[in-house]
């Protein structure tokens, strides 16, 4: 069973959103469950800093040995930072998905809805596996 930190929010697309509490800038990554499903990640494309994104947009991609998946913007807003370390070393998504494997930060323009709590996400992934 992969870890699902309580303090984060989640999407059905297996991304996590951290730092929602202050309602300004959030950090986005992929979940440990997703990383396990992908296998070894070999390439990550993150959105451009300054890009305006809308919740649900495909804004990047994650490639593993066997597959390629879109990264979706889980919230609407402006991309204010991306993680150069994960672009250089995509295996950070496997080794530390909730820490050094973070992908990008968004200054949110509207209050997100449809996000899942840790408990709801745990229910989603246990139903899927």
């Amino acid at each position: 069973m992969s870890s699902i930190p309580d303090e984060l929010s989640y999407t059905k697309e297996h991304e996590w959103i951290g730092g929602l509490d202050d309602g300004l800038t959030v950090t986005v990554g992929v979940t440990a469950y997703a990383a396990e499903q992908l296998g070894d990640v070999v390439f990550v494309q993150v959105p451009e800093i300054g890009a305006t994104v809308a919740a649900g947009d495909a804004v990047g991609e994650v490639e593993s040995t066997k597959s390629v998946s879109d990264i979706f913007a889980p919230v609407s807003g402006e991309v204010v930072a991306t993680n150069p370390s994960v672009v250089d070393d995509p295996s950070l998504i496997n080794s530390d998905p909730y820490g050094d494997g973070w992908l990008f930060q968004v200054r949110i323009s509207e209050e997100p809805d449809d996000l899942l709590s840790a408990a709801e996400y745990a229910a989603l992934t246990s139903a899927a596996s």
């Binding site: 396990e36 296998g39 070894d40 070999v42 390439f43 494309q45 991609e61 490639e63 040995t65 066997k66 390629v68 496997n94």
Partner: protein, 364 residues
Amino acid sequence: MSRSTPLRGVHESLGATLTDFAGWQMPLRYGSESAEHNAVRTAAGLFDLSHMGEIFVTGPQAAEALDYALVGHLSALADGRARYTMIVNDEGGILDDLIVYRLGDEEFMVVANASNYELVARELTARADAYDARVEDRSGEYALVAVQGPRAAEILRTLTDADLDGLKYYAVLSAEVAGARALVARTGYTGEDGFELFVGNDDAVPLWNALSAAGAGLGLVPAGLSARDTLRLEAGMPLYGNELSARTTPFDAGLGRVVRFDKPGDFVGRAALAKAAEAGEPARRLVGLVARGRRVPRHGYPVTLDGAVVGEITSGAPSQSLGKPVAMAYVSTGALDAAGLAVDIRGSHEPVDIVDLPFYRRTK
């Protein structure tokens, strides 16, 4: 309903991610597929290949029947040796690629891909009809465990008295391994030295466990189909369904050498293949590509030149050994010397260079 090999319980207890492959539940990876790949290149990997098919052809005219049924010259194969060959249809299209082992004067084992062995068994039965030979699909009785990598011989040696040093590449012998009767073949699909061990289903788990224990201190790890696929791709080995299909001839695939027009008698596909051989350069050729960027060309992606499609990727993966994505592709002969070849990776044209296959060759 997909089928399980005798080792499924072992894979589950090792925490493998299982995947459906050709109707079988097979281990895709146990942990990191890159680590499994690297272990096979530097030490050894243990594979369950029990989904492969074993078809026995026996009898006084077994050799002649295979000469007629396959493109290779199997009657010339010495006892105890193996040969890579193919079965084609009347049009010369590849129905499967095979390894044929000669186990005796009148006994051959044909190893076919999981996706094709039922068809291969049917075709062999039909093609052997006029010969004094018997075709028997014994896939259901056999498990296949492979130990592959530079330390494979060292590991296997601890479990058998068989003369492994005398067992050449593409040779086979019958021996006791960890107390089980096994066909020990020095063959594989990884580009490394290694062995494939054919045993009865009941012996699969004890053999796997004995090999695991023997290799524990030598870097042996269980390896799944994901590593097997990247290993064979680096070694430039074709995969049926990707590089090979009923729409390709051995010549298209750059494997015309397996077609033995010099053998006696007719064989299925001969006329069509002779025509293909006389026609010279095929319209498209199977080539190796290395990507300049980090995005991975994958099966089915178009190969382009100045925006026009000139080919298609058959297999692609990130290469651990090269540190770059590699792929095999069919490319129009006319585009092979042009500069500016690219792969359309989901709408973005990423530059690639043609290189000689294989991508990786082991140092002896």
